[in-house]
């Protein structure tokens, strides 16, 4: 399940996220960005480097009360 969300109308198409993505999972055209769900491992590196905070990591809903799922566990 893809946990990375792209905030609409905020991306500057700079490519910083693409440069750190270990899975080649980001498609970046002149004015369009998308994540290739089948490749993305939800590692969140793209989220951390985005200079404009365009990418968001949505924590999956808690499985049990109190236990949240870290990005690693969701692979």
């Amino acid at each position: 399940m893809l946990l990375i969300e792209i905030k609409p109308n905020s991306c500057d198409f700079c490519g910083c996220c693409v440069g750190v993505c270990p899975e080649d999972a980001i498609e970046l055209q002149e004015a369009h960005i998308s994540i290739i769900e089948e490749r993305c491992t939800n590692c969140a590196k793209c989220v951390w480097v985005c200079p404009f905070e365009v990418l968001l990591f949505n924590k999956p809903e808690k499985r049990r009360s109190g236990a949240s799922v870290s990005p690693e566990e969701t692979r």
């Binding site: 500057d12 700079c14 910083c16 996220c17 002149e30 590196k45 480097v49 985005c50 200079p51 905070e53």
Partner: protein, 415 residues
């Protein structure tokens, strides 16, 4: 566009168009594909270069120069100002004009440049032997044995999208000049992913209506201003400046670059008009280990040919493009792909080894807490004025790491 070229270059930045110029000038047929509608736009760059490195690679046109820089100011966290003598001067370019002109020079040398072409994959060659079930040989063919595309290497061209249509074009050699967001190298099996620590994530505003000295570049350091990076103010003349910040991806995990930039501009230039705001990334690592993989060649940011200490990649990427362009022209002329390997060798000799040392200097300097940075500034200011060179600054900064100082002295031939 023809169906087939000697060389296909992906990306029309300075590295790609310089590679195109050198390859085309020596007779290769060259196609440059650029995804954006306009070469060189938007400008995601502070635009500062040193006069010497730019002169070494292209005759300078005064139209490219927005400001000539005579002074470099390093500002420590508590505001101590060090103005080291760099032994040369610098320019702040107008890259809108500069990048365009580099493309024009490539075209004048015989290259074709096409915009709005988004390259989305490499085309795998299917030589006769492959069709019969034999694998493509794992090593490059012996010199002089390459006859046509099918045997040249594992890739025979690229596919690209143009106005929503998928098209293909063939090339004997494919150059990844696709910048920080490079994917072409990855498709060829080269690991070009930038480690988060080494990705300097940037935000920059070009502002006007500011009162600045037009011949001074400022660099601000400190954990509150630009953790594991720096903030720059580069004048562009006419009361304009590029003000930007670059921080390591590790620091960006906590607070994004744009927040540091907004805070600085609000404090320092409250009355400025913001003309542009851009995001960007700079791969401040050592050069990618594999610059040539069969018939795929990496140049510029795509090859991490950036000075990892300063983050400057315009001229070093152009030098990468030039060296690759020369090797490519030779490989085409002699019909021998193994000649491409001259490029990594030359790169290492001219620049690569220096970047390795810069990388170690960066790793050392970025660990310093604010108090140490202030201390360095105070100690440099105690030096005799003629000793306040950029090397004087680094000698002072790294005085507790004599091995690194010695490496600096050796690599850069310092006295």
């Amino acid at each position: 566009m023809k169906p087939r070229y000697d060389v296909i270059i992906v990306g029309a930045g300075p590295a790609g168009t310089t590679c195109a110029r050198y390859a085309a000038a020596r007779g290769a047929s060259v196609l440059v594909l650029e995804k954006d509608r306009d070469v060189g736009m938007p400008v995601r760059c502070g635009e500062a270069v040193s006069n010497r490195s730019l002169e070494s690679i292209v005759p300078i046109d005064p139209r490219w120069i927005a400001a000539t820089i005579k002074r470099f100011r390093l500002i420590s966290p508590s505001g101590h100002i060090v103005e080291p003598d760099l032994g040369g001067y610098g320019y702040v370019l107008e890259r809108r004009i500069f990048d365009y002109d580099l493309a024009r020079l490539a075209v004048e040398a015989g290259a074709e440049v096409h915009t709005k072409c988004y390259v989305d994959d490499l085309l795998r060659a299917t030589p006769a032997s492959h069709a019969e079930g034999k694998a493509i040989p794992a090593t490059d063919p012996a010199p002089g044995t390459t006859a046509d595309n099918a045997q040249d290497g594992a890739w025979k061209g690229v596919s690209y999208q143009w106005k929503g249509e998928r098209r293909t074009v063939e090339g004997r050699i494919i150059v990844a000049a696709d910048g920080v967001e490079s994917r072409v190298g990855k498709w060829a099996g080269i690991d070009t992913t930038t480690h988060m620590r080494d990705m300097e994530t940037c935000a920059q505003m070009t502002i006007s209506n500011v009162d600045l000295e037009d011949d001074a570049c400022e660099f601000y350091f400190g954990n509150d201003t630009a953790p594991m990076g720096y903030l720059w103010v580069f004048p562009k003349g006419h009361g304009m400046a590029n003000v930007g910040v670059g921080i390591s991806g590790m620091a960006s995990k906590k607070t994004a670059a744009i927040r540091y930039l907004r805070r600085f501009i609000d404090q320092r230039f409250p009355d400025a008009a913001v003309l542009t705001t851009v995001a960007g990334g700079v791969p401040c690592a050592t050069t990618v280990g594999t610059l040539v993989q069969r018939n795929v060649v990496l140049v510029g940011d795509a090859a991490h040919q950036v000075n990892p200490l300063s983050g400057g990649g315009i001229t070093s990427g152009m030098i990468g493009g030039k060296l690759a362009g020369e090797a490519i022209a030779m490989a085409i002329e002699k019909n021998d792909l193994s000649l491409l390997n001259n490029y990594p060798k030359q790169w290492r000799k001219e620049i690569g080894a220096k970047h390795d040392t810069y990388y170690r200097m960066k790793a050392a300097v970025y660990k310093f807490p604010d108090a140490t940075l202030d201390d360095i500034a105070i100690n440099v200011l105690k030096l005799r004025e003629d000793k306040r060179t950029i090397w004087g600054v680094f000698r002072t900064a790294l005085r507790h790491q004599p091995a690194l100082v010695w490496e600096m002295v050796k690599t850069f031939g310092l006295k």
